[in-house]
Symmetry: C2
Subunit: 251 residues, 2 copies
């Protein structure tokens, strides 16, 4: 079997409303799961930054150098606080102007009469960008070099994400298994550490307390690109559960 390479991405959430705590971000969870499942791409970092040009420019340059892809969300609408497209053009020193294909799409969608300045603004972007089509509200996202820009509204973002696929190279999908145990972390932490050490290079084991059905428990999550290694870890975990006589929560 051909060994796929590791492909990673960063997510850059652009928006004062997320930082101020007014709006709960939902795009990180969605993009991260979609990327892993559909493209075998791992999200290695996420940042939330304000609508400030020099901060956007700095982060675009830094993240686009450090990761295979950068996904931005937010700031591509028609109002004054939508400055993502302009900032990306500035970061990459490419022309920011009407994108002819985006202009045509929006003009057709709104009709010539209702195609006002605010709506025209959504066709302004790095002129070298390729479009990510938007089936729900027409205004396209776009890819500039390795930076993919999507809208902030989750329902619209979700409707267009499949259109990103053709621009992405595929990596190795991360498989995961979760064992929900009725115990406390400190009861299993020593053995868990030993198992993690043994499979250090291939499996990532995380331990997360939960409260369910009025009881305390621990979710042990193992993640790996190798299903075989994952099965081995799972066997060792089940042995531990047996020895310690821990109940497993059936969901």
């Amino acid at each position: 079997m051909r060994k796929k390479k590791k492909v990673n991405a960063a997510i850059l959430i652009i928006g004062n409303e997320i930082l101020s705590g007014r709006t709960q971000d939902k795009n990180i969870v969605f993009i991260s799961n979609w990327l892993n499942k559909n493209c075998g791409i791992t999200v290695s970092e996420a940042r939330i930054i304000p609508d400030v040009e020099k901060i956007i420019v700095k982060n675009i340059l830094l993240l686009s150098k450090s990761f295979n892809y950068v996904f931005t969300t937010g700031g591509i609408g028609p109002t004054h606080d939508d400055i993502t497209a302009k900032s990306i053009a500035k970061a990459f020193k490419v022309k920011y102007s009407y994108h002819s294909e985006a202009y045509k799409i929006l003009e057709r969608y709104y009709g010539k009469k209702k195609f006002n300045d605010g709506r025209k603004k959504m066709a302004k972007m790095p002129t070298t960008a390729k479009l990510i089509y938007n089936p729900s509200s027409a205004a396209p996202g776009f890819i500039t070099k390795n930076v993919i820009s999507l809208p902030g509204v989750p329902s619209i973002l979700n409707s267009m994400i499949d259109n990103c696929k053709k621009y992405l190279i595929k990596g190795s999908m991360v498989h995961s298994t979760t064992l929900n145990l009725f115990t406390v972390e400190s009861n299993i932490s020593k053995k868990l550490g030993e198992i993690q050490k043994k499979y250090k290079s291939s499996v990532e084991i995380g331990s997360y307390p939960f409260f369910r059905l009025g009881k305390i428990g621990v979710s042990v999550v193992s993640r790996s690109t190798s299903q075989t290694k994952l099965n081995k870890v799972n066997k060792e975990l089940l042995d531990l559960v047996k020895v310690k006589k821990i109940k497993i929560l059936k969901i």
Copy 2:
């Protein structure tokens, strides 16, 4: 009236489970709102990073230099993947060992017999740290220089955040008003941009589409440390609404 200064903070979410999309972060919204309301501190950046020591060290050093405070969440439990305390000690080149007060608190909480290695690990931290007491599950958070470390479990974090207050200087609280309008962004974007330009230095105006009661709308959010300036902006916005004959959504 004494003019308060601007005080800012960054939030550093440490945890593979948030990056992988397994768990929805809820701490950014909570911390940001709490900081603004209780301390007049503005969150200027948030980052989500994996449980990797060198990445944590790098981010702690960078963010603690760039912002007045850094709030970390996650990675202070009893298992192998909890490496926040050790990484912060490394970043600041201070001793990582049992913190005598934390050790006593945990020993009293669990009782000498049940105070096993996993639980003892939660008393290990930068020895120069001051504690953030935890009323719900004993294991304390801590402050090292300007970095405040809290647990990742939202219910526990929420129960201890008031205990951070005594370590924080107060800044100017940001007031905000929201106007929910039944219109589309492009209908008001031009005038909104003009108002923003006029109050550039004092009020931050954001525009966010919403879908409610089967209709499309726009939330116009104005934020400022000056209530007077905010009232002025609000008056101009209401004039715009009147001229354009836009319906306001009453909530």
